[in-house]
Subunit: 194 residues, 2 copies
Amino acid sequence: MTKGEETRQRIVELAAPLFNQRGYAGCSVADIMEATGLEKGGIYRYFDSKEELAAEAFKFSVAKIRKLRTDDLDNIPGAVEKLRYVMDRFVSEPSPLKGGCPLMNTAIDADDGNAALRDLVQQAFADWRRRITTIVRQGIRDGEISKSCDPMELADTLIASLEGALMLTRLDGNKRALKHVRHSMDLLLSAYTG
Amino acid sequence: MTKGEETRQRIVELAAPLFNQRGYAGCSVADIMEATGLEKGGIYRYFDSKEELAAEAFKFSVAKIRKLRTDDLDNIPGAVEKLRYVMDRFVSEPSPLKGGCPLMNTAIDADDGNAALRDLVQQAFADWRRRITTIVRQGIRDGEISKSCDPMELADTLIASLEGALMLTRLDGNKRALKHVRHSMDLLLSAYTG
Ligand SMILES: [Mg+2]
Ligand SMILES: [Mg+2]
């Protein structure tokens, strides 16, 4: 990495939690100047606009959270164990990034607004759904999961309930909602694996 | 209502969808001036601050959505039918207010920020949880729902999964995720009522 690339990367890494906590409108370029110690010109040297910086910060956040949530997944044997692993990781490490899940936060923030960010969130959820449906399909082929299970229905349910529980957990200041949803999803899974 | 009370109420009603779509930082007093056709002084005559107006707008939104989601609930016989009704209403009328669910939006917006708004969201979710746990407890007493069901666990699961599905539904631009979660929650319920 050149010195310029390093500076650019440092701006992205410092901006990511600010956008994640405050939202796009709530995070100003002045906030990023304060966090990085750079002048406005020092930031706009690397990014054409606040939009571009926010998009890069979101991509950085998604890559970080994706790694944390699915690292080691390939080493887990069996579809049901893989799904349990994904849920357990979500409960044990709900917000590696300050401010909670960047996918949910940016979805809520951008669903009526910023089109570029919305596209990126759609891609991130599509990727997450694809990874779960791939596991479920393998489980159906291997006879671990019932053929009555619709892979996309299960993926939507796991993602929606975990994200919703994270929202409640951050509001409550404790993990009760996440633990409750984790247990309910085990019950649901057992309806397909019983 | 006096003329002044009517004007105040009109400001609240017009501000509510703006805060809901754009978030607290993303909705400026200038936006509210534009929507109401009032000067800044005409707005601040009724509210001490943007904080106060946002709080009133949130309370208005919550009352509206609560009525829509639970109207007629007392006329539905049986706990399981009541729970199904709550879910069906959520799926059929996911966002009566432009911008989606004000509880989830404000939770995400205020969980690291605005303490007054956060308190109001906590109260709104506490109220929703209380209404669901009351139904579940009645169902357990009546023998409709298994004693193995933890009322708060089921309430957290229904709320988290519906809210998470609404987030996906607004991002997707279709109701697939809500319908998927609705079906999964029926399966989960049948594990407690089978
Ligand atoms: Mg939104
Ligand atoms: Mg937040």
